[in-house]
């Protein structure tokens, strides 16, 4: 990585473990290149910390190309920082100015307890998926692709919903810590397709129940989730889930 010319101040949440009370600590990020990603900037800071015998800042990351959803960072008051439609790993330092102070916090939600520093436990999402985010048919051999006809619009909507990477930015952005956008994307991607229709009633009931039990808040339709979602998942999915839930509850 080329030596850069930006010097920044980071105000980062530090917390030893789930039970300890955390606090903000200030770090200097020196010699940062505008072409670095936000995570690479953290790598540089951490290397300095390690070489001077200090503990590095813990943060989640995996793919570093916007597809795994791990890089949860609440940057200057917004999940994944100031750009729309990107994850933290896709955010570049050119989005900031030399001399800036950047506040970095973990996702804040009772359902996402902090593991350490900026890393949070998002297994509540896994439990929601396990409660109904699947199709339990015996698929057998691969069928001819045109055996089951699917209207183009439905296929597109299902595909767009399936773009959700389970990052949790919707929960982090929501003033109520609601997980409606995530759950509705998962409900929609299956409910829209013929293979998923069979179990759609039980699916929506079970997934909403699990969502409520995990302690997420209630949606008030501010639309913050849609605006901050790195995959631009649409609020239409939430309306679809509300419809599905109402139908399932009445029958």
């Amino acid at each position: 990585m080329s030596q850069g010319n930006m010097n920044l101040t980071l105000k980062v949440w530090k917390q030893k473990n789930k039970n300890e009370k955390g606090r903000f600590e200030t770090f200097d990020a020196k010699g940062i290149s505008p072409d670095m990603s936000f995570l690479e900037m953290f790598d540089v800071v951490n290397e300095h910390l390690i070489s001077s015998g200090k503990e590095p800042i813990a943060f989640d990351h995996d793919c570093r190309e916007g597809i795994c959803g791990m890089c949860s960072m609440y940057i200057n008051g917004r999940p994944h920082g100031p750009k729309q439609g990107v994850t933290t790993c896709q955010l570049h330092m050119r989005s900031f100015k030399d001399g800036d102070t950047i506040v970095v916090e973990p996702w804040r939600s009772a359902a996402f307890p902090v593991i350490k520093d900026l890393a949070v436990d998002r297994s509540s999402f896994d439990r929601i998926m396990a409660s109904g985010g699947f199709v339990s048919i015996n698929t057998g051999n691969a069928k001819d692709a045109n055996n089951i006809l699917i209207p183009k619009y439905d296929a597109d909507d299902a595909f767009n919903a399936a773009a959700c990477i389970g990052c949790g930015a919707c929960v982090a952005a929501c003033k109520n810590s609601s997980a409606m956008l995530f759950v509705s994307a998962k409900v929609s991607q299956l409910a829209l397709l013929p293979q998923g229709k069979i179990e759609k009633r039980d699916r929506v009931l079970n997934m909403v129940k699990q969502m409520d039990e995990e302690g997420f808040g209630n949606c008030t339709n501010t639309g913050a989730c849609e605006a901050e979602c790195p995959k631009s998942i649409s609020l239409e999915n939430i309306a679809r889930m509300n419809r599905e839930y109402l139908k399932a509850s009445l029958t």
């Binding site: 105000k11 949440w13 903000f24 609440y74 200057n76 008051g77 917004r78 100031p82 506040v103 916090e105 804040r108 939600s109 009772a110 359902a111 952005a173 003033k175 109520n176 810590s177 609601s178 409606m180 009633r201 039980d202 009931l205 079970n206 909403v208 129940k209 969502m211 409520d212 302690g215 997420f216 808040g217 209630n218 949606c219 008030t220 339709n221 501010t222 639309g223 913050a224 605006a227 901050e228 609020l235 239409e236 939430i238 309306a239 679809r240 889930m241 509300n242 419809r243 839930y245 109402l246 399932a248 509850s249």
Partner: protein, 224 residues
């Protein structure tokens, strides 16, 4: 297999109840603003008093009034329940929040706007509703002159100011609430949602402008 949780204890069930009661309360506003607009005829309150008298004594309206209060109370109870749950869902808040980057301020302030509305409503009922009730129950409804009462109440500039704050809160509360109710009920459609949003916008503006102009017109004696 699904274990059904009780509809009203689920998050979506409570939201749908908020939306339905909200829309019901909005429908009341249409009646209220229409009746009150009779003062603009500027005939010394003759038409308005006749309309007010009908509203205060008609048995069917009485019955709907009970439903109205029930709807209001449910709307408030669900709002409190949801707000408490939402507070619990984020025990540690953020140090820095840039809310305006992703949502409208009024969509994030429904609780505050609603509370302002409730305070206003208590004052408003104390001004007009209680007196009318007393008159009806003591058999003096025929002599009760709501128009004169309005002139008296709105001769105070600070009461006029309070009403304007109340109506302002109403404007932003339904600006978000109207379209939000349709989204909650599952109606989000490329063709209809923009229309719903437009109707909500014009409805809030027109209704609130009409309401706001009433105390102002009486205070400035444009209406006598």
């Amino acid at each position: 297999m699904s274990e059904k949780s009780f509809f009203l204890s689920s998050s979506i069930g409570k939201k749908i109840s908020m939306g339905l009661t909200g829309l019901f309360l909005i429908s009341f506003l249409i009646v209220h603003v229409s009746v009150n607009s009779c003062i603009f005829i500027n005939d010394g309150g003759i038409t308005f008093n006749a309309a007010a008298h009908f509203m205060a004594t008609n048995p069917l309206i009485r019955l709907i009034e009970i439903g109205l209060f029930a709807g209001l109370i449910l709307h408030i109870i669900f709002a409190l329940l949801l707000t408490l749950e939402n507070k619990k869902a984020r025990p540690i808040g953020y140090e820095k929040i840039n809310g305006s980057a992703n949502s409208n301020w009024y969509s994030r302030s429904m609780g505050i706007l609603g509370s302002l509305l409730l305070i206003f409503l208590v004052v408003h009922l104390a001004h007009f509703w209680i007196d009318t009730k007393i008159a009806v129950f003591t058999g003096k409804a025929d002599k009760h002159n709501t128009f004169n009462e309005m002139k008296e109440v709105f001769s105070n500039w600070y009461i006029v100011a309070l009403y304007l704050i109340g109506v302002g809160s109403l404007l932003f509360h339904i600006l978000h609430g109207f379209q939000s109710a349709f989204q909650t009920l599952g109606l989000n459609h490329k063709k209809y949602t923009p229309i719903i949003k437009k109707i909500g916008l014009w409805f809030s503006i027109i209704v609130c402008l009409l309401f706001a102009s009433m105390p102002v017109a009486i205070f400035t004696e444009l209406i006598k």
